[in-house]
Structures are given as structure tokens and as C-alpha cells.
């Protein structure tokens, strides 16, 4: 049973940080996740690194490389999640091939005798076992998601979809049918990465899905408490922050800093972001209208 609704249950907007698991190693990841929770995270997107992260900007790409060269595997990831002792919902963020291949024999050939096509069910089953609550799969548009949707339904997990500034009305309808947990509202075009500003498009995008009955979390390029505030004041139910946090991890790796120090910085940054979001909620037209 997904705990994702809990993240959006309180009065405050949800703060959803992202980290690549295993960056730069599993013990550090554990410390970082705990720090983020202490910093106010309402839910965490735990990245499972894939070798071809086509939707990521350079920051997360490098995190993925660090994690992969540390030897992360889906199974290690699941064990990591299983061991985690934090009290927030967890979203698995990864690319479809890892779901698709989990538990399949490599080298099997379609069209041959007892061949069974791979599929996402074994991955979802295992994810449910270790306490994952939902998925964000950036290379899986709603049109290709039937199998995964079915598996999520079977194991009571959520499946988050992204809505981009370019998403057409037709596609919004399709996504609306498939989405659960929250909608990931992509604040601007491009790939992930900390940006100096948050696009006007956010408000516009939010307006287009205002009547959806899932929470709306905005991501892509939020890097400061002020950004967070502005995004939330534009109507978001939550904020998703990745690169701005991964930057801190990267800095730690580059400067060989102790894990505890990096964790402290992450907690600090998390606080800033969470506070910004809360401030934004107070400034929102809705709040002011109340």
C-alpha cells in the first residue's frame, strides 16, 4: 500500500528531494537520506542509476556515473531501501529498461519455444517488498505504461507521470488516466539541473491541471528557498529538488569531505528549501484568499 498520500497530507507543501542511490557509495547515501528527512523531506525520490540517463542534465548524469562505478545494482538498491529506517514515502526514480529486465534471463530470444517476454512485474513486486511506494520513470510516457500500471495496481503502488510545458491537451487526458501519487510538473523545458530562475511556465502548467485530483509537485531547476517559495506560491502542492542537492554531494566527492559534513550541508539545504516552500504556501493566492 503506497504511503504517498501521506506526503501531501499535512498543511504544508511537500518537499521531495532526489538523490542517486550509491552516490558515491551506499553508506553515504544512507546518511544523506537521513539528513534530508531531518531537513524536512516529506518524501524521497531515490534514483536507481541507469547507464543511459537520457533525461538528466550533467549534474545528475555524473552522480549516476559515480554510483555505477561504485557497482550499484538493482538488487543492491533494493537491499539499501529495505535497510533504510526513515519514516517518509519513497519513490523509485529510474529508467524503464531496469524495470523491464529485472528477473528476465539475459539473451532470451523472442520467437523461440518457451520464451517469455520480460516485463516490469518482478521489479514492482520486489520494490513493494522493500517498501517503495511509487515510481517516476522519465523515459516511460503514459502510452507505453500499461504493463507497469497494471503491476503497480496489483501491488498497490503509485505511478507518477511528468507533465511538461510542451504536453498537449490530448496527452494530458492520457496522463490523467494513468497518473497516481502525484503529478510531476516539469517547470521548464530541458533536462534536470539547478537553474537560476523558475520559469513562468510553472503557473501556466499548474493552471492546465488545476482540476486534477492528484497533488501537483513541481520540479526541474529549483535550487533555493526563494525558488521553492515562488513555485509553491504559484500553486504547487510540493516541490521536487534534485540537482541542487546532488551538487552538494558532488562537491563532497570532489573535495573529499567527510560524509557527516556533507550530510549536514544537505540537511541545511533541505531546511532552506522546505522553509521556502512553506513561506510560498503562505503567500499563495489560495492561502491569501482564505
Amino acid at each position: 500500500m503506497s504511503r504517498l498520500p501521506e506526503a501531501f497530507a499535512g498543511d504544508d507543501p511537500a518537499f521531495i528531494p532526489y538523490l542517486a542511490v550509491g552516490d558515491p557509495d551506499l553508506p553515504s547515501s544512507k546518511a544523506y537520506v537521513e539528513a534530508l528527512v531531518k531537513g524536512g523531506a516529506d518524501c524521497i525520490e531515490l534514483g536507481l542509476p541507469f547507464s543511459e540517463p537520457i533525461a538528466e542534465g550533467p549534474t545528475i548524469q555524473q552522480a549516476v556515473v559515480r554510483s555505477l562505478s561504485g557497482g550499484i545494482t538493482p538488487e543492491a538498491y533494493f537491499e539499501f531501501v529495505d535497510d533504510l529506517d526513515v519514516d517518509v514515502p519513497l519513490v523509485c526514480m529510474t529508467y524503464y529498461n531496469l524495470l523491464f529486465r529485472y528477473g528476465a534471463e539475459s539473451g532470451t530470444k523472442a520467437g523461440e519455444g518457451d520464451y517469455e517476454a520480460p516485463g516490469p512485474r518482478p521489479f514492482v513486486k520486489r520494490a513493494a517488498e522493500v517498501g517503495i511506494d511509487g515510481f517516476v520513470i522519465p523515459d516511460l510516457p503514459a502510452e507505453e505504461a500499461d504493463e507497469l500500471r497494471a503491476a503497480c495496481d496489483e501491488f498497490d503502488l503509485d505511478l507518477v507521470f511528468i507533465v511538461a510545458p510542451t504536453t498537449t491537451d490530448d496527452r494530458l487526458a492520457t496522463i490523467r488516466e494513468q497518473v497516481s501519487g502525484y503529478v510531476y510538473v516539469q517547470a521548464r523545458l530541458g533536462v534536470t539541473g539547478a537553474q537560476a530562475d523558475v520559469s513562468d511556465q510553472t503557473a501556466e502548467s499548474l493552471a492546465r491541471i488545476a482540476d486534477w485530483d492528484v497533488p501537483k509537485a513541481v520540479g526541474f531547476g529549483i535550487s533555493s528557498g526563494d525558488h521553492a517559495a515562488r513555485v509553491v506560491s504559484a500553486g504547487a502542492d510540493g516541490i521536487i529538488v534534485g540537482s541542487a542537492l546532488v551538487d552538494i554531494v558532488a562537491d563532497g566527492v570532489e573535495n573529499d569531505r567527510p560524509t557527516a559534513d556533507v550530510a549536514a550541508d544537505l540537511r541545511e539545504k533541505a531546511r532552506e528549501l522546505k522553509r521556502g516552500a512553506v513561506r510560498g504556501a503562505r503567500e499563495s493566492p489560495e492561502a491569501q484568499g482564505e
Binding site: 556515473v65 523515459d139 511538461a164 510542451t166 523545458l189
Partner: protein, 427 residues
Amino acid sequence: MSSDSTADGKFGEYGGQYVPEALMPAIEELRDAYERYVLENEDGFMDEFRERLRDFGGRPTPLQHAEHLSDRYGREIYLKREDLLHGGAHKLNNALGQVLLAKYMGKERIVAETGAGQHGTATAMAAAHLDMPCEIYMGETDIGRQRPNVFRMRINGAELNPVTAGRGTLKEAISETMRDWATNVDDTHYVVGSVVGPAPFPEMVREFQSVISEEARKQSREKFGTLPDSVVACAGGGSNTMGAFARFVDDEDVNLLAVEAGGSSLAVDEEEGVAPNSASLSTGGQGVLHGARTKVLQDEWGQIVESHSVSAGLDYAGVGPELAHLVDEDRVDAVNVGDDAALEAFHRLSQEEGIIPALESAHALAFLEQVLGPAADGDDEAADDLGDRIVVNLSGRGDKDLETVIEETDKRDIPNAPDMSEFAGGL
């Protein structure tokens, strides 16, 4: 049996559109443009495309009877001479089609990825020809080892964006180009370089390349009054392959053989995440890579592994979904030959026919030797499948490969190679 994809961009289980949401509208726009301009010839798109292929590209390319190979194998061997296309490979068919389509779509900027540089140079040429600003993404490792192609792109006025991620090769360049596209999708078209990527790319690239089989079909009738018994083409991503096969797919008597790069071995080293081959059709499993479900070289977890081949243009961990489907349907036979055999075939064609083939194309030729040559492995079924009249798609010329040939021949024992020692230091 037509393999035309359905409206959802699937070929059987393969294909689809596994891309970030931000790109979906661009892909839908592209499908729409593809259907209107390419399939329905709106605004005379296809007429203009064909005229430019003729006047700028040099089409039709000949279907040449290869006398010495025919003697050697006791079959009639015909070479479809894509090596004579402007730029030196079949790649221009696609690059020109897509850049022209981008123009019709009102796009103002072209991006493309390139590995060995063949697709990059073809795109740069097409972009210069059609006056489109053009940026090429290329891995830093590839930039280092493909300097002449890098230079040709620059000479043609393209910007070059080095990709430092990962091992700095084709796979990383594709990811990076997707990122650029996702950021600049409003005014930018991504010229995908083979029959890979999300729908409608595999189908569209196949259509642009199918001029190869369209011509070969007509030329076969002119030359020997009937269709060939088989068509053989090398397969990396599979664009020359699908181009050479497309118009024969419905002719069930014509056997279609896709020759992959067997590299140095067919095994995958999971520890290292490396496959010493690029034989995704023969040894890969189903997976999702670069926007499509297809056959992929991957480890047990689904992480994509680095492929390897002496031929840079075949060195790719995926393959076109339509080709994967046709193989599963037994309409296409997937076979493979290794690095050594390809080098030997390279030297054979150069010496005996006076044509220096691309190392990619040499794989297709090496397969003839493997099945029909004096030291053939006696696989009578394979020999039967080839039949009497065999069309081999000579996808490109080998000028780009000279340095590689020196290096790779020098470190091996290739019996028919001329003495390379005087060139040992490179050109």
C-alpha cells in the same frame, strides 16, 4: 508480410516511444509531418527529396556485377554501390531526408549525434546544402580517433559539441543529443542517424533509406530479369540494412541476411560491462534503449554494456526495432562475422575489385566468404539460402577507415593483406 509499423509505432513487440514527456509532442509533430510530407508527398516533399538525392547525392547508385567475387564463389554477386553516394556512405539518404523534413516543418536548427562520424558528416553536408545551422554531438573518445571526420564536419560549417560523459562514445552522444532536443524542442530537429530511436524514427529512416532497395529491385530486373535470391547487408543500427531490405520484404522468395559485427567474441563480459561484439540481434535480449524497445546488449540487470567492433559504424549496443522484429519473425536471418574476417574481406574487395569498402560493409562481404569461400564452414543451408544471385549492399567506402585498417591489420595475421609495415606509424 509487410513490416510497416502501425500508428503506435510498434513492430510486433518492438519499437514504441520511450522518451521524456517533454519530447512526446515533438515526436507527435514529427509523426504528423512524416505522414503528410513523406507518405503523402504533401507540398511535393518527396519529389524535392528525390531530386536532391539525384543531383546532390548522386543517385541512383549502380548495381554492379562483381566479376572476381562471382568467380570466387561460383554465384553471381552484385554490389549495390552506396559507397558512391555523396559523402561516401548510405548515411546521406537519411540525413538529407530529415534535414529537408525539418525545413518543411519550419525548424531552424539541426542537432545530431555521431559515433564514427559518418552520420555526423552526412548531416553536416545536408545541413550546409539546405542552409540549416547544425550542431553535432560526438563523444570525446570518438573525436580523438576520428579526426578526419571531425574536420570534415567543421569544414562543412557544423558546430561540434564534445561529449565527456561515460566513455565518450556513440551511446553517450545519443543521450546528450536527446537532452539538447528536449531543451530546444521548439525550433530544433534531432536527425537520428539510424533506424533506431522512438517512433516514428525507425520507420521514417527506413523510408528514407528504402531508395536503396527500390533501386536495387529495379536494377535487378534490368540486369538479370528477375529478383535476387538474397540480399546481404551489414547491421549496426540497421539503416543500410532496412534500406536494402525494405522493398524486398514482401517478396518472400528473396532471402534477407543481416550481418552483425561479431567483434572478437560473441560473449558478454558482465563484470566489465563490455561486449566484445555488436551482435545485438544474435546475442542481445529485449530491452528499451534510446527510445525504443528492441534487442539490446545489456548485463543481467538491464544496464547497457559497451559494444565493440573493429568497425566504428557497427559499434552500437542496440539495433533497429523493425529489424529485431523481422528477425523474430524469421523474415530476416541474423548472422555475424568477426573482426578478422571483416578485415580480410576489406583487403579482398580492395585488391580484387578495385573498391575499398567501409569496414562496416566489409562485414557483409565477409559473410559471403564464410559461407561460400574456399574455407567455408560447410553450412549447406546457409549456402542454399544465399542462392545464385546475391545482392550485397556496399554501404560505404573505406577511405575513413585507412588508419584503423593499418593498425588492426598490423596486429593480426590477415593472410591476404599487403605488407603494412611501412605504414606502421600511421598515415
